[in-house]
């Protein structure tokens, strides 16, 4: 049945199997949360909402990303757009910078179009070089110097974190069969996103069960060494199992990639926590019930996506 679905939708069979596995995990998670919900007499509302949101996120992501390539580019671009909008809405901004903010938004379609066209040379320099140079120049031309450096800093960093880093997901996807004869660009992207997101849940769960020693009490008081290490080892084991089916890496290299994704994901998580703490907000948005904003859900990918991409590119690109 999986093979038939794969043939019908045009999704590579290994990715289809992995997707089936994801739904199996979700079904188990739903059963467990439902049991907790009933046993506690209607409690654990947030957990129930979270798992429900996972079903929707997995389905939307799979349908939008793995079926039709132009739609995948648009959808991954939409994720970056929403993340950038959440970021710009929560930071202090200057009225005089409205045009620069607009330019930052317009960088999103350009960046994802470059990925879609497989123009990876331009893809790598567009934001870190051209947008990086353009935005401070326009701000200087506008003539307002009060708050200039702060605006340049917050906006450049935000564009890198919400657009450049996340657009590496599109880079992986459109690197295609040449980079991954096993399951194509979709296999690479699935491996990254699945391990990164599973790592988030694993770190949270290990932390809830055994967490005692805090890593960064001032930034993210819920992060513990027990949760972090439990998450890293779970991700390594998971990556070693699924990596050989989805990527050209063998079990050993997949395990290494899993550890790298987990570590980078942790860093992405705490950098966003530091930003929110600095601004005094709890969640970046309210788009996803039980999770917060889109930035709260994909903060780990802001680090994991570029770090995994360049790791893989260095060792495995033809």
């Amino acid at each position: 049945m999986i093979e038939l679905l794969a043939a019908k939708t045009g999704i590579a069979p290994p990715v289809m199997w992995a997707l089936g596995g994801t739904y199996a995990i979700l079904a188990i998670a739903s059963a467990i949360t439902w049991l907790l919900h009933v046993r506690s007499g209607g409690g654990h509302g947030e957990l129930v909402a979270r798992v429900k949101s996972w079903w929707i996120m997995v389905t939307v992501f799979a349908a939008a990303v793995f079926v039709y390539e132009p739609l995948s580019a648009a959808f991954l671009g939409l994720i970056s757009y929403l993340a950038l909008k959440e970021y710009i809405s929560m930071i202090p901004t200057r009225r005089i910078d409205r045009l620069v903010l607009l330019a930052a938004y317009l960088a999103v379609p350009v960046q994802f179009w470059l990925a879609y066209q497989a123009q990876f040379g331009h893809f790598m320099v567009f934001i870190p070089v051209w947008m990086f140079l353009l935005m401070p120049a326009v701000m200087a031309m506008s003539g307002e110097t009060v708050g200039y450096l702060k605006s340049v800093g917050t906006l450049s960093w935000g564009l890198m974190m919400t657009v450049f880093t996340l657009s590496h997901m599109a880079y992986l996807l459109f690197s295609g069969d040449a980079a991954n004869p096993v399951a194509g660009g979709a296999g690479l992207l699935f491996f990254l996103v699945f391990v990164a997101q599973f790592n988030d849940v694993a770190q949270y769960t290990w932390g809830k069960l055994f967490g005692r020693h805090k890593i960064t009490p001032a930034v993210s008081p819920k992060k513990t060494w027990e949760g972090f290490l439990g998450g890293v080892f779970t991700s390594i084991a998971l990556a070693a199992v699924i990596g050989p089916f989805l990527t050209p890496m063998d079990a050993g290299w997949s395990a290494l990639a899993g550890g790298i994704i987990a570590g980078a994901g942790f860093l992405g998580d705490i950098t966003e926590s530091a930003v929110k703490r600095d601004l005094g907000v709890k969640d970046a948005g309210a788009l996803i019930p039980g999770h917060g904003g889109i930035l709260d859900r994909i903060d780990s990918l802001t680090y994991a996506a570029p770090v995994f991409t360049h790791f893989f590119r260095y060792f495995y690109f033809p």
Partner: protein, 210 residues
């Protein structure tokens, strides 16, 4: 024909811009009136205010919703007048002409309409609340059974402030308060309205706009 155009404008264009491009963060949505007659009172920062408020109500109520707006601004040119009257669907009030300016809104309320009022009068400085004008109290005094729902909005004055035509996306925060009713005294009513708006404004934490 214009009714269909108005429906298309709100059902497709406004919803696309508001929900997908801007994004809303709404609290207290169930405080919004489910039927007319009713008055929605909001702070005013942008032309988008009206469109966003109307997009919060179900489309089935669209024929009954009318934002109250000034004749001297919206009926300046022929095209703008057609757009304001037929597509936005404003209830025009003539600030300069003699006669009772409350007659038209009172009639609309008697017909079961939902009116949208901006008691600050004009959009003013973006993201700063000006003094609330008493007109709303005078209207409620004449229609004392009509509920008045206060709404505080933030973000639209950043997206499209007065004096610009360039739209920049920001997430819009919308806080809807519980409906107020007439208390028999217009000063006391305005005080309660102001307190309610201030309390709603305090629900959010808004990054500065310098």
């Amino acid at each position: 024909m214009t009714k269909a155009l108005r429906w298309l404008f709100y059902a497709v264009f406004v919803r696309l811009v508001v929900l997908l491009i801007m994004g809303l963060n709404i609290r207290g949505r169930n405080n919004l009136p489910a039927k007319g007659p009713a008055i929605i009172v909001a702070n005013h920062n942008s032309h988008l205010d009206t469109l966003v408020l109307i997009s919060l109500l179900p489309l089935s109520l669209l024929p009954h919703v009318q934002p109250v707006a000034a004749v001297d601004y919206f009926l300046k040119t022929k095209w703008l007048a057609w757009f304001a009257l037929n597509i936005i669907g404003i209830l025009p009030i003539d600030r300069a002409a003699g006669g009772n300016p409350l007659a038209a809104p009172r009639k609309a309320l008697e017909d079961g309409k939902i009116l949208i009022l901006f008691p600050e009068g004009s959009r003013g400085e973006p993201e700063q609340m000006a003094e609330l004008k008493r007109g709303v109290a005078l209207l409620v005094k004449e229609c004392p059974t009509v509920p008045v729902t206060p709404v505080f909005m933030h973000g639209l004055g950043k997206s499209l402030p007065k004096g610009t035509k360039i739209f920049v996306p920001f997430i819009c925060d919308i806080f809807v308060g519980e409906a107020l009713s007439w208390s028999g005294n217009s000063r006391a009513f305005m005080d309660r309205l102001r307190q309610s708006m201030d309390a709603l404004a305090k629900l959010g934490q808004f990054p500065p706009w310098e």
